[in-house]
């Protein structure tokens, strides 16, 4: 056998059977832009490994990159990166400047986080972005773009074949704005477990009535429907009031307090199903605690950065969205509950055990929320991740 061949063949063999061995992640950077009038706020996460390969960060060549080494090259990193990203409005460029360099950790290692802002000559209508970072040395590198404008988020990917992305940023119409916030509202009620569980706890007994120490099924749909309608209307009315008050910053409450009370409301509503000792109309309960839940919604709305110019449109959209989300839940719940109200499953399993589970879970929330505030904060943060 040709000895030259041995040399060449040897690296290929295992490599061929490594075919399915998926490897480290390929290189990505994450570029997030938020557009506010003629200013663009940017956050750009770039892997330290890639920066090292491109410009040599490891000053003492010891195989590790320390914060000191990054800090020492801060200016060089910033100019290297920003010179490879052009933002243009019409045909005139925006002026980028770095505000800060931070560190973050993604699943594949440490990243330099460049916080920058770009001042554009005018408020962008058509924004064009040109991205060339690392493409000369790493053609499989991708720039993952996320751009937020008037509560609307668009994403894109830069590659050597797609170095330019053009965005049409013409103002959202009244209707678009309304719809965007409406969607946020629906989304929020669906992922807000505590709101759902509170509603469910209130609604569970709507197809039953309490007599002589036990739950009995109602005879006809009318009373059940009226009960549900009154609860939902009261809850909606209450949280619309406080949501508006909070969003307009007329009333503010500490969010930990609000979250704890919301969790408490779930516990009370669920426990009341198990031990209906106090005879109180459930729509009143719905109204009183609805006031607190409204403050809960408001904290989310605040994080969505309400556009000042269309505050009322956004507020209305969000509110309607919440209602639509609720109606869907009710629409699924009521027919099911009504159909199964006579069964043992509904009265014992769903009603009793379900309420018990809800109370237990909400009790944990109270403990979490009042004892470990970090957890609570974190849970709420999840929701504005999406911005």
């Amino acid at each position: 056998m040709n000895p030259w061949f041995v040399v060449l063949l040897s690296p290929i063999l295992p490599w061929l059977c490594s075919d399915i061995a998926v490897a480290h992640k390929p290189s990505d950077s994450y570029l997030r832009l938020a557009i506010e009038e003629s200013t663009i706020q940017g956050q750009w996460d770039i892997a330290l490994r890639d920066l090292d390969y491109a410009m040599g960060l490891d000053g003492n060549d010891d195989g590790t990159i320390t914060w000191g080494e990054v800090r020492a090259q801060q200016a060089k990193i910033s100019s290297y990166a920003l010179s490879r990203l052009q933002l243009e409005v019409g045909h005139s460029g925006c002026w980028n400047h770095i505000q800060n360099l931070l560190i973050d950790h993604h699943s594949d290692g440490a990243y330099a986080v460049l916080m920058f802002s770009a001042n554009c000559p005018t408020t962008p209508r058509l924004l064009s972005l040109r991205y060339r970072l690392f493409f000369d040395i790493d053609p499989l590198h991708r720039g993952l773009l996320q751009i937020t404008h008037q509560s609307r988020t668009q994403t894109g990917v830069f590659s050597p074949d797609q170095i330019e992305v053009n965005l049409d940023l013409t103002r959202n119409t009244f209707w678009q704005e309304f719809r965007n916030f409406g969607r946020e509202g629906v989304w929020h009620i669906w992922i807000g477990y505590d709101h759902i569980l509170f509603l469910i706890s209130l609604l569970l007994p709507a197809v039953l009535w309490w007599e002589a120490g036990q739950w009995l099924a109602v005879d006809s749909f009318g009373p059940a429907f009226r009960e549900v309608l009154s609860i939902i209307t009261a809850f909606t009315l209450a949280h619309s009031i406080t949501l508006s008050l909070a969003a307009l910053e007329l009333v503010t409450l500490p969010s930990q307090w609000v979250e704890s009370v919301i969790a408490g409301s779930v516990v009370l509503a669920a426990l009341h199903n198990l031990f209906p000792v106090i005879q109180i109309r459930r729509w009143i309960v719905g109204f009183i605690f609805g006031l607190v839940h409204g403050f809960g919604f408001a904290s989310v709305l605040a994080d969505l950065r309400l556009p000042a110019s269309s505050m009322f449109v956004a507020l209305g959209g969000f509110n309607i969205g919440v209602e639509v989300g609720q109606l869907v839940i009710v629409g699924v719940f009521l027919p099911l509950a009504y159909a199964t109200r006579h069964s043992w499953t509904y009265r014992c399993l769903v009603m009793q055990l379900g309420s018990g589970c809800i109370a237990g879970l909400a009790l944990i929330w109270i403990i979490e929320r009042s004892l470990d505030l970090q957890l609570t904060n974190w849970l709420w943060q999840l929701e504005y991740f999406r911005n």
Binding site: L9, L16, A21, A23, H24, I65, D104
Partner: protein
């Protein structure tokens, strides 16, 4: 602030309370991380101390790296220097294999930039381009390049071998076998036998190809370690499919004892250990080797078998990685993503879709297996019919798959 610890605490609480709810929670987590571009971390920060180590650069400071850096610099001054570009690209391709890091593949492509988009590049460039295209699962393009290489140089053994392996991965066993034949004249008999056994062990002659390859390996005096590695892995996998545990274990150990870093070996051995319900051994095997996604998946599956507290961070991490791949339009991880979605996220319908998408591109035993598993668990046995038919045609012998197939009848 790192958000993962509180997440784990919440999840543990939730899991203890209501396991069903926990899956809901995981689904939610997936949505959150998708919408957050794959990152699960909350806040960038400024480190307190200059001496804080942020990142380890593999191989930094080694003579190999210094030499690569010098070659890169030289090439940047003279980007049309073919000999230099090919040498650098080859070194990077090899590094990519050893480190299981796709960044090096990309650097290799950059080294060949001058010729990369040409329709008739020099043969050496064509061959490396084929390797890189094969690696990113662009099989058609890779085969086209290899055909061109063999037109220019019919004695290019590596090109024949690479073509055979691509056909084998796609389940085209006739072509895979045919491309092994020229190797008889061009290289030694261990390579040829391994190439042929690589096909026949999947194609109704598992027992015979196992014996043949075993004889060949033991009769080769001091075989090249890379070749011995390939043969040992194949022997181990064949023994495993035949249900011969003690031989499989022995061959995997033999392959490990060669001391070559190989991600494929670690993955295959881990899969077998998982099938044997030996998750602790998987953890011991992969302890120092966590970077590649494929191995991360095996660690997560091991943690799951151990009902281990470590599971959730793995899921968070893998979710982020698969989300990223999707955004990039990268299809190399479909099989792993299907396994992840089925076994760890417990979403059989979605897993079935992924497995079907994957089946269009590659047809190795694991590709069949994950599709069958997903079809069974999602209660959609008809979806498995193409795979069942195919298994029948190629006569694949695999104990795990046979058990699955029996559940369909």
């Amino acid at each position: 602030m790192n958000t993962i610890p509180p997440l784990i605490r919440i999840s543990r609480l939730v899991m203890r309370l209501r396991p069903g709810f926990a899956h809901f929670f995981l689904g939610f987590l997936m949505i959150v991380s998708i919408s957050h571009l794959g990152s699960v971390h909350a806040k960038p920060y400024i480190p307190d101390s200059d001496s804080l180590v942020l990142e380890h650069i593999p191989l930094s400071g080694t003579p190999q790296m210094r030499q690569l850096r010098a070659a890169r610099l030289e090439l940047s001054r003279d980007p049309q220097n073919l000999a230099l570009a090919v040498r650098l690209a080859r070194q990077l391709v090899e590094l990519g294999r050893a480190e299981a890091d796709p960044r090096y593949d990309s650097y290799a492509q950059a080294a060949l930039r001058f010729w990369w988009n040409s329709s008739k590049p020099p043969t050496e460039v064509l061959f490396i381009r084929a390797l890189l295209r094969q690696r990113s699962h662009h099989f058609d393009e890779a085969l086209k390049d290899l055909t061109q290489v063999l037109q220019n140089q019919p004695h290019h053994a590596q090109a024949w071998l690479t073509r055979s392996v691509i056909y084998q991965v796609r389940g085209d066993y006739q072509n895979a076998r045919q491309n092994c034949r020229p190797l008889l004249r061009l290289t030694d008999s261990l390579v040829t036998t391994t190439c042929i056994a690589n096909v026949t062990s999947l194609n109704g002659q598992a027992e015979e190809s196992y014996k043949g390859l075993l004889n060949q390996l033991s009769s080769t005096s001091s075989p090249d370690p890379q070749k011995a590695l390939w043969a040992s892995i194949l022997l181990a996998e064949t023994a495993a499919r035949l249900g011969n545990s003690s031989s499989a274990e022995a061959h995997f150990q033999q392959a490990l004892s060669l001391g070559l870093r190989d991600t494929y070996l670690l993955g295959a051995y881990s899969d077998w250990l998982l099938d044997q319900n030996r998750p602790a051994d998987v953890q011991a095997l992969l302890r120092d080797d966590l970077h590649p996604d494929g191995l991360l998946l095996r660690m997560a599956l091991a943690a799951q078998q151990l009902t281990n507290d470590q599971l959730l961070p793995f899921i968070v991490d893998l979710t982020a990685r698969f989300t990223n791949s999707r955004l990039r339009g990268d299809t190399r991880h479909l099989r792993e993503e299907a396994r992840f979605t089925l076994h760890l996220l417990k979403q059989p319908k979605r897993a079935l879709q992924l497995a079907q998408e994957n089946w269009k591109m590659q047809r190795e035993p694991w590709d069949a297996r994950i599709l069958l598993e997903a079809a069974l668990q999602s209660g959609n046995p008809t979806a498995a019919q193409p795979v069942l038919d195919w298994l029948e045609t190629v006569k694949l012998e695999d104990q795990q798959i046979r058990t699955l197939v029996e559940q369909f009848s």
